[in-house]
């Protein structure tokens, strides 16, 4: 298929693949068949059973092994004469610095999260290496190209950040299944089985403080001397589904325009029947294997797609709690929720369902709950195969120096205007992009009451996705990270983290401008500080707001092009719901293609550009 010139370029090209999962497996195959001979591959993950429906380089016996290494071995078996170097590592590792990236002619991403993509984007900009980006979810997918100074970088278009829910919604006023699942996972499960000393929002307080829930007692969730797992489970049940709700109901303001929840007590659920009792089955041989031990199975609930009743959920809640206490004693106090931990998942589903029933929210099956709790993205082989083909086509164009032919291509679920693959021209870099065009951001924050640590965590590492930040104000270094720092500097920085912004040695006040740098990413941006006293608890849960400069004239697309803005990344951390800017994963994946210029003639078909004016 390739011309002799293309083949020559392909054979000499050195390519970096980031990600050896769904897209990665297909991509490695396609690269090998196309004639690429020098490939580096980075992936930090190990193979799981759920990968096997599409990551075809892996087999059952490979579960637990490194994706990058097994992928390499599988392809070498078919093409022993090519060079594949596999790195079982995190691409954010400092080994993969600008010098590392500079050795490649092109970088191909097959990642599944925004954070890593941003990191690779910055490194590619720093190294001046073109980047082919891609993503897929179910039937949808897209491929695009980023070239420094010539096209938009990955971050020119703002990406949806992982949504954090306002604490009050989770603790007081849930209205969706995801709120109850987050409560069950991050509050209840964490409090019962995780670090006890971490402060918890699990307890509900009334405004007047004259009375609060029994659960307000800090020892409430600790098992009492002589208390059996069964009675402990019942006590916790009544506390969180009964008592806590009663207390919450006393806050009249909260329920003025909301539906009032109903407390649920053990005695109501089992008014006419016996509770499931502990018997020998909790000590069964498979009780210690976290993948197979199951409360649901013991209770006869063998279909994960079936939605349990309130009684079922209560049964599972009590049973799972007992089993966890009995079989995981050594883990209690340090257990981290893992969606593949069967008992934990059952417990969370049951707890979420019970809470949902109190708030009249539809309950979920184990299968659905797992998807929400684990941020699972649906995926099949076909879409990834298509995407990998498109990636290689774009890579070849880049290697041949034909940037004009490069496109963003969307793979749709249904044909639209008779096309299943929709191409669009690339856009010029945005002058307002703080990553590829030096521009300033605005941070609104309460400088008298906010500690530096919060800004570093929520803004610098969080929203700005900086890996190893160095923060300075003018000539004064306020904070930095690194292995080669002197001890007294480290001490000073740690002290700085705990200080309020306006109490720092170089005080940060209204009007201050901070520089944020990351040497590895070769990233610099400026943060202008604006002091603000009040923040909306629901809309601005972080108590600080980051915003960018308005775009200028440089943002217009290249002439004769169609602007399509899509909101589809294979972003596994997202849960966004359409009522209050939060859509469940499925809907984020439904690309929202807005045609800015409705001009059919300027659509690129079959690689031939129609040179028409934008009307």
């Amino acid at each position: 298929m390739a011309t002799p010139e293309e083949l020559a370029v392909i054979e000499k090209a050195k390519v970096l693949m980031v990600g050896a999962g769904g897209i990665g497996c297909e991509l490695l195959k396609t690269l090998a068949l196309t004639g690429f001979k020098d490939i580096h591959l980075i992936d930090l993950d190990t193979i799981e059973v759920s990968n096997l429906n599409r990551q075809f380089l892996f087999r059952k016996q490979h579960v637990g092994q490194s994706k990058a290494k097994v992928a390499r071995d599988a392809v070498l078996k078919f093409k022993p004469d090519i060079k594949i170097e596999a790195h079982h590592a995190n691409v954010k590792n400092s080994d993969f610095d600008v010098e590392f990236f500079k050795q490649f002619n092109v970088v191909l991403n097959g990642l599944d999260n925004v954070d890593a993509r941003r990191h690779v984007n910055r490194l590619c900009l720093a190294a001046g290496v073109p980047l082919v980006e891609s993503g897929s979810t179910g039937y949808l997918g897209q491929v695009t190209v980023h070239v420094k100074d010539q096209t938009e970088c990955y971050e020119c278009q703002t990406k949806e950040l992982p949504k954090t829910y306002p604490v009050c919604t989770i603790t007081n006023t849930p209205s969706k299944p995801v709120h109850c699942i987050v409560w069950a996972k991050d509050l209840l499960f964490a409090r019962l089985f995780g670090d006890r000393n971490q402060s918890s929002d699990l307890i509900v307080h009334t405004n007047d403080r004259t009375s609060s829930a029994a659960t307000a007692d800090t020892d409430f969730f600790n098992i009492k001397d002589g208390e059996t797992p069964e009675s402990y489970a019942c006590r916790v049940f009544d506390g969180v589904f009964g008592d806590n709700i009663e207390v919450a109901l006393r806050n009249e303001e909260t329920w003025k325009s909301r539906k009032r929840p109903r407390p649920l007590y053990i005695c109501e659920v089992y008014s006419d029947a016996k509770k499931p009792r502990i018997d020998g089955s909790c000590n069964s041989p498979d009780g210690n294997d976290k993948h197979t031990a199951s409360a649901a199975r013991i209770l006869g609930l063998s279909n994960p797609q079936e939605v349990w009743t309130v009684r079922d959920s209560a049964n599972v809640f009590l049973k799972a709690l007992e089993l966890l206490l009995n079989t995981r004693q050594k883990d209690i106090g340090s257990l981290v929720f893992d969606k593949d931990d069967q008992l934990a998942m059952e417990f969370v589903t049951a707890a979420a369902n019970l809470r949902s029933s109190c708030f009249d929210i539809p309950m979920q099956s184990l299968f659905e709950a797992k998807g929400i709790a684990g941020n699972i993205v649906h995926a099949i082989a076909t879409t990834n195969a298509i995407i990998s083909g498109l990636i290689v086509l774009e890579a070849i164009k880049l290697l041949m120096g034909n940037l004009d032919d490069c496109r963003t291509t969307y793979c749709l679920e249904y044909p639209r205007r008779k096309m299943l693959l929709m191409p669009a021209e690339l856009s010029a870099p945005k002058s307002s992009c703080y990553v590829c065009s030096q521009s300033t951001l605005l941070l609104e924050v309460n400088t008298t009451m906010t500690r530096l640590r919060e800004v570093v965590e929520k803004i610098v590492r969080g929203q700005l996705s900086v890996n190893s930040p160095m923060i300075s104000q003018g000539p004064c270094l306020i904070y930095e990270t690194g292995d080669d720092l002197e001890e007294d500097m480290v001490t000073q920085y740690n002290q700085n983290l705990e200080k309020f912004l306006d109490s720092l040695p170089a005080p940060i006040v209204d009007g201050s401008i901070l520089s944020i740098e990351d040497f590895q990413q070769e990233f610099t941006c400026h943060l202008q500080i604006k002091h603000r006293e009040i923040f909306d608890e629901e809309k601005e849960p972080d108590n600080m707001v980051l915003s960018g400069k308005l775009s200028t004239t440089r943002d217009q697309a290249l002439p004769g092009s169609v602007q399509l803005t899509a909101v589809a990344d294979n972003v596994s951390i997202h849960a966004v719901d359409d009522d209050d800017e939060v859509i469940l994963i499925d809907e984020v994946a439904k690309q929202d293609l807005k045609r800015k210029v409705l001009d059919e003639e300027s659509v690129i078909v079959c690689g031939k550009r129609q040179r028409t004016e934008v009307s």
Partner: protein, 330 residues
């Protein structure tokens, strides 16, 4: 059930797309691939990974050196051997629950000499075949009720065409559903229940707790008395209807009236049987017999309900007559 549950983990990510039923359909399908070059092999790979019931590869060619560059499912060691067998073995490795078989024979020969061969399959995938053979194959498949999928690829272009007599889809999760609360035509028990409420009652607590649906039922009755048994249809009438409701509202805290006004649209947008649906009900295939597919049996049942019980039963059935992915083949 146990076996299925064990495979749930492997198929988890795709179950979240097409659910249990979709997966069952896949696992019950017997497919036949004609020609296992790159196009056919790649297609079958995706089906095998997904758990197709069985696949039978028909191809009489041997693996040659030039195949190694474009087909991932043949290797150096298989040069000279049957391509069908080689590809089959590789695909079997991908998923041991799939029954992978092969037949070292040319598809054209089978079409000419043994057309009944195709009757055992749910779906035939014909790749890189010539028009003449395809025409014959199409006739065979149509006669035997087998689905046919044709694929050709040339360099960077390709085409897919599907040929089947009828494809029935029941939309079980329609995007926009307005549930019919039977406000305009309450059935006997609902009417009796509604009559128990008195919107003129003095007691304010009771007044503000009358369910909004009851308020709307009563509003419909009142409207009908003064408008000749019809329902609001013009925007003026709809506004008037809403005003009637708000005039009965006694206070800002009467959420039931607020909800009734917001839901007033239910009164005039109650779904009826669409012409598309009627067309399906009137189709001769709705006269079912022992061999009728499930879809038509359900249509026949729906027809009985619609004709004998009530015309305001709601179901939404979409009927796809022709499935085409590209405008025309070439």
């Amino acid at each position: 059930m146990e076996v299925r549950n064990n495979n749930n983990n492997k198929y988890d990510r795709q179950l979240r797309i097409w659910g249990d039923q979709g997966q069952l359909a896949l696992e019950q399908a017997n497919t036949c691939l004609l020609n296992c070059g790159p196009t056919g092999s790649e297609a079958l790979k995706n089906l095998v990974l997904g758990g197709i019931g069985s696949c039978t590869i028909v191809d009489d060619s041997k693996v040659e050196a030039r195949d190694l560059g474009n087909n991932f499912f043949v290797d150096w060691e298989s040069i000279g051997l049957s391509k069908a067998k080689t590809v089959c073995n590789f695909l079997q490795e991908l998923n041991d629950t799939v029954k992978a078989k092969f037949l070292e024979e040319s598809p054209e020969t089978i079409i000419n000499v043994n057309p009944d061969f195709f009757s055992q399959f749910t779906l035939v995938i014909a790749t890189q075949m010539k028009e003449q053979s395809l025409l014959m194959l199409d006739a065979i498949c149509r006669k035997q009720g087998v689905m046919l999928l044709i694929a050709r690829s040339f360099g960077l272009t390709g085409l897919i065409r599907i040929s089947l007599k009828e494809h029935c889809v029941i939309e079980s999760k329609p995007d926009n559903v307005i549930h019919d609360l039977r406000l305009q035509k309450p059935w006997a028990e609902l009417k009796r229940f509604s009559d128990e409420f008195d919107t003129e009652i003095d007691d304010s607590v009771i007044h503000k707790h009358i369910p909004f649906a009851i308020l709307l039922i009563k509003a419909c009755e009142d409207w009908r008395k003064t408008h000749g048994d019809s329902l609001p249809s013009t925007s003026k009438e709809k506004a008037e209807f809403k005003n009637l409701l708000s005039s009965k509202r006694r206070g800002v805290d009467e959420d039931n009236y607020k909800e009734a006004i917001l839901s007033a649209y239910r009164v005039w947008s109650s779904p009826t049987i669409s012409s598309e649906l009627q067309k399906i009900l009137n189709d001769s295939a709705a006269e079912v017999n022992m061999n009728s597919p499930d879809f038509w049996v359900m249509v026949a049942a729906l027809k009985v309900v619609v004709e004998t019980i009530d015309t305001s039963v709601i179901l939404s059935i979409k009927y796809i007559e022709n499935v085409e992915f590209l405008p025309r083949p070439f």
